[in-house]
Symmetry: C2
Subunit: 270 residues, 2 copies
């Protein structure tokens, strides 16, 4: 683990490929963008790509691979998406079939992989700016809630927006907005500040996914669009085959975790 | 004309629908985003959507319609893309077939419309900030150049990046970058500042499209990704049918022309 915290993304991916790291990726390779993975057959790829285009805040697309090609040439040249994540989830007809550490047995020539930005990137920036991130302090998974706000549907994909919540001291809310604004490819600015009931959230202590966290006096619950949204929507479509990363077990790209769409679109030269 | 400069987008579109305005749209409905139009059959829509995702600077997508639906529900509810532009171009097999003011005769149930941000939006912001826009001063079309830089291909779509050029006084170059950075959905920051030869441009006085403009002493040629890129790439693919706006005859959306991806994604409430 200590080794993985200071290694390069390429080396971390090699350890995962060799089955020597099968744990979660939070805190690994700081300074590099981690990504959500959604793999589905080409027949459904147009609708899913359009869903992402219509809902950019929950679905910040970093890369879409060509059918059958397991190499993410734009965000991690040389990597193999079938082996280079620590753990996957395989679904058939919307039901979980397996949680393997390697998906070569399921790979097909018509599969397309979507890599989407994740909130790990902006959480590190919040911490550097002195904004507390409660679920990290408490050693928990960020609380997530299904809202009453429908996503803009596309073809077979539809469903509600899922948000993550971080309690922010009232005096730091604007700072948290400023900082996350710099990361449009990691969900960007919050979708909602305060008033959870207006999103249809009845009880902050009962999240739909993840763990509840402490909200202290003079703190405001701040809600960001969540990468679970496209997974939930895709799951709901009950595709014959869909593969994702296992929760918390992300793909580590070569992209530097710095602000600026242009910069984060391409890996740094080696 | 004077009427159109102060009217609402909805009213301007009505005049175009009724055939009462068939001219170019520069300067019309200031304060509202204008868009490039590309219409093609659904069979090619995945490749084109992926091309836009992979090349966001020349292809800033504002909206993609559902197959056969001529209404851009997200950027101009109630509008009809078959009638509400002043003039179109219809291509078959990559060859220009007609330049009608109405495309209902060509419409098919499998057509998908792509609306892409255009540089009119950021030019108005440059002028407001005291940055000169030479081709407007000289009453010309912005000069455009085919570069030696390939776009990231997607399926059947491939080709070089096309850029537009505006000469900027050296002391205002940084300001021009700052301002256009606020408009990621209208091509965003320049792709290149100075050194046209590094883009493969031999002679600024001989643009591939548009008109040459005067570059004065102590001015630097600044290059932005150009919306002609996706049109050139689509034309090059020689699709059985493709329809675009006629050059300069754009679609006027309801989107306010203000900075911020979030704000410009949806029309203001009426």
């Amino acid at each position: 683990m200590a080794e993985l915290e200071t290694t390069t993304p390429r080396e971390a991916r090699r350890l995962m490929r060799e089955g020597r790291w099968t744990g979660p990726t939070a805190g690994l390779c700081p300074g590099h963008v981690q990504a959500n993975l959604v793999v589905l057959p080409k027949a459904y790829a147009y609708d899913f790509l359009l869903f992402c285009q219509r809902n950019p805040k929950p679905c910040p697309l970093l890369e879409v691979t060509d059918p059958g090609d397991p190499e993410p040439r734009r965000t991690a040249p040389g990597a193999d998406l079938r082996t280079d994540l620590p753990r996957y989830r395989v679904y058939r007809g919307g039901r979980l079939e397996a949680e393997p550490t390697d998906i070569r047995a399921w790979w097909q020539n018509d599969l397309v992989a979507f890599l989407l930005g994740c909130s790990f990137t902006f959480e590190a920036a919040l911490l550097r700016a002195g904004v507390p991130v409660r679920h990290l302090e408490e050693g928990k998974t960020v609380p997530m809630y299904v809202t009453n706000r429908p996503c803009d549907p596309a073809g077979i994909f539809q469903g509600p927006l899922v948000v993550s919540m971080r309690p922010i001291p009232a005096g730091l809310v604007a700072r948290a907005v400023e900082i996350t604004a710099r990361f449009p490819e990691a969900h960007g600015v919050p979708v909602h500040v305060g008033a959870p009931e207006a999103l249809g959230i009845q009880d902050l202590n009962r999240p739909d996914f993840g763990d509840p966290v402490t909200v202290r006096a003079a703190e405001v619950p701040v809600f960001w669009a969540c990468g679970v949204t496209p997974q939930a929507v895709a799951l709901n479509a009950k595709l014959p085959l869909m593969i994702t990363h296992a929760p918390g077990h992300m793909f580590i790209t070569d992209l530097p975790a710095e602000p600026g769409g242009e910069i984060t679109r391409r890996p740094a030269p080696r």
